[in-house]
Symmetry: C2
Amino acid sequence: MSSARREPKLDTAPPRGMRDILPDEAEIRDFAVTTILGVYRRFGFRRIETPALESLHFLTGGDGGENEKLIFKVLKRGEKLRSSQTEASDAELADLGLRFDLTVPLARYFAHNQAKLPYPLKAIQIGPVWRAERPQHGRYRQFTQCDIDILGEKSELAEIELIAATSEALLALGLHDFRIRLNDRRILIELARHCGFEDRAFNSVFIALDKLDKIGLDGVQRELDAAGHARAAVAKLVEAVRSFTERAGAGLAALPFYREGDEPYAGLGRIQAAIEQLASGYTIEYDPTLVRGMSYYTGPIFEISYGREALSIAGGGRYDEMIAKISGRSVPASGFSIGFERTVAILGARRDAGRTSEDRLAILFDPRQTAAADAVRIARDARRKHDVVLVEVKRKNFSKQLDDLKAQGIRRYAVLRPGVEDLHLIPLDGEAAAPRPADRPKRP
Amino acid sequence: MSSARREPKLDTAPPRGMRDILPDEAEIRDFAVTTILGVYRRFGFRRIETPALESLHFLTGGDGGENEKLIFKVLKRGEKLRSSQTEASDAELADLGLRFDLTVPLARYFAHNQAKLPYPLKAIQIGPVWRAERPQHGRYRQFTQCDIDILGEKSELAEIELIAATSEALLALGLHDFRIRLNDRRILIELARHCGFEDRAFNSVFIALDKLDKIGLDGVQRELDAAGHARAAVAKLVEAVRSFTERAGAGLAALPFYREGDEPYAGLGRIQAAIEQLASGYTIEYDPTLVRGMSYYTGPIFEISYGREALSIAGGGRYDEMIAKISGRSVPASGFSIGFERTVAILGARRDAGRTSEDRLAILFDPRQTAAADAVRIARDARRKHDVVLVEVKRKNFSKQLDDLKAQGIRRYAVLRPGVEDLHLIPLDGEAAAPRPADRPKRP
């Protein structure tokens, strides 16, 4: 840098809870997007995009649950408050908001564009969403979601394809030995009813049950008791969950209210069987304790756990009622979302991640000896044989320059010499690569 | 769709001036991004990302010019106006805004992350920006920008690489016969001074000159006269421009104040010569009337015109002062931006755009005869031989279904028959493909 180093004049950090992405991570993200897109496209899914901003009345329609409280709202353009007002509400100041997920915008998109879309629509969406959450480790206010949805397919074909395609995508990323957990919102309701909870208590029961992974069965029981639910119902639920978790692999048929051949049991069984025949490198099982947070789910729900910590890396389910609320037209719908940021973090933690076998070179030159035009032409020719060819002016601090190149994944370099077109390539890997003394110029 | 068609309950259009992207266009956009990224990466550029939101004090620092008036501002979280206030300014309500370009965020990014970045940094950015412009045909309030920048290279190597890489990327997209126009902000200033304009008039002169393409030389003259500039200076400028445009290909040396071997003339000549030796399928020329809108440019500026209408599809230049304003550290910088939306529109208008040679199939089945599990398994196997394999339930309106598949780029289909694993593929192309009567089932 040409002048002396001074302190930054301004705080240059990105906004609170948001972050800059460095080149190495960007490479992993691009690899993940390309790989996932490639697999989904082979299943016939097609990418779509909606704007980052939506009308607040869509975003606050109720389907976003708690996320609706986390919306970044955009100030109306040119609005000043009238002096007669003493207190302005957000609604008077803002009419647009940044989307907090890709599902609510998809419902609007489908309602608006259905005449121009395939039906059933098999959609891929990959893009940023924003939530004004309290910043915490590993959780950001802008993050990428990666969803597939099938709109217009009422049979379990939708779930089978969503799960098969997403499993395939995770395998293609190099993630193996994950565990797919499967449940059905209607079975969950049946379970709550069977235990003796009242209908209006269901949501609160599910919220407590959803925490099983984090607080354990005792914790769930304490939370249900504290919420004042009927003691007998709580005891019955706890007993049902315990008996299931004790008998690993106990299937649907172990449910006390199971009715063979009836829906939703038969459908869930078919989903499980269809995936089991495809599954290689992962497993699928019925899990009566799987809840999934969003209240819009109406049928099968599913989640993928990865690794020893059983990190949830994908989740989804059927939401048959959502689109009718917006379009007035009933459209069956089911979707699956890969936890993109978590998946990128897993890939980034692996030593082999983003290490391509690309052949990356740097061509260095001294502008007092070689014209930039010549360096650029030689580099253009070298790109016929090599994947990446970087051109840089040779710096005074040459060994620092070589270290920088190595850190960028450059594997070999050449220093141009006047009148010489051939590249004398010197490896950069392993130990600090000391520059070899210049060979005698050879004429081509 | 399972129920009768009703009217939408809500206006489902995207927000004013924004738009939904349909699958066909999304495919072209992905093709463009992948192609451009591929070329830039081969030159050693690396992708980076910044958040969509930035602090308003960065966005309104002056380098955004007119764009700073078009910022979508985000309401502070949980802010209500105090009742004592009678009129609230935007600044009291908002502290963040959606970025209006990728250059101002890049300067902040570099200042914040420089210790972790390669130097020189060769950055790629592709992402959405937002401007609250008056909506008009072909101009949207959210659009994608696609920039490369080199930070830390003070020689013309930066400009040569920016122009070479961008030309290569456009050729890879299938755009040929474009014209690169080259100028230098310092020569522009010299020209204005030579004509006798006062220093403080330069900006207004450049703004008028920038409209040459749209309003012609007479229009520029009228605008300069109307602005009250010295008549003699206006006449001299008009004469200089006329003599240049009349002598097509008149180079730098035709400038009355040209000094051979001196900067910036020598540097501009070297850029032109370096690109000329690489150019195959495009041309580069000095254009004394090229202005480029942004006032932050300090050296060479360049633009690419395409097709008979000479649409500007890329533009850039050197901006050596911007980063020092934020980081307090002088860092030479130069960048080039492809007009992504315009480029996608050009690709979309071509018949061959997005027409891949992909082998796309649909497998259709009747769920009363074939289990979804079988259909999905057969499709999985078919994906070993074919690029895209879609599975759908055979619809009652079968010929409509085939038309829909054709519209999606599906080329062949097969209807599954019980007990038959082999796919009997029927072409969908050309004329409306009538389904062939089912062949007799064959055993494998």
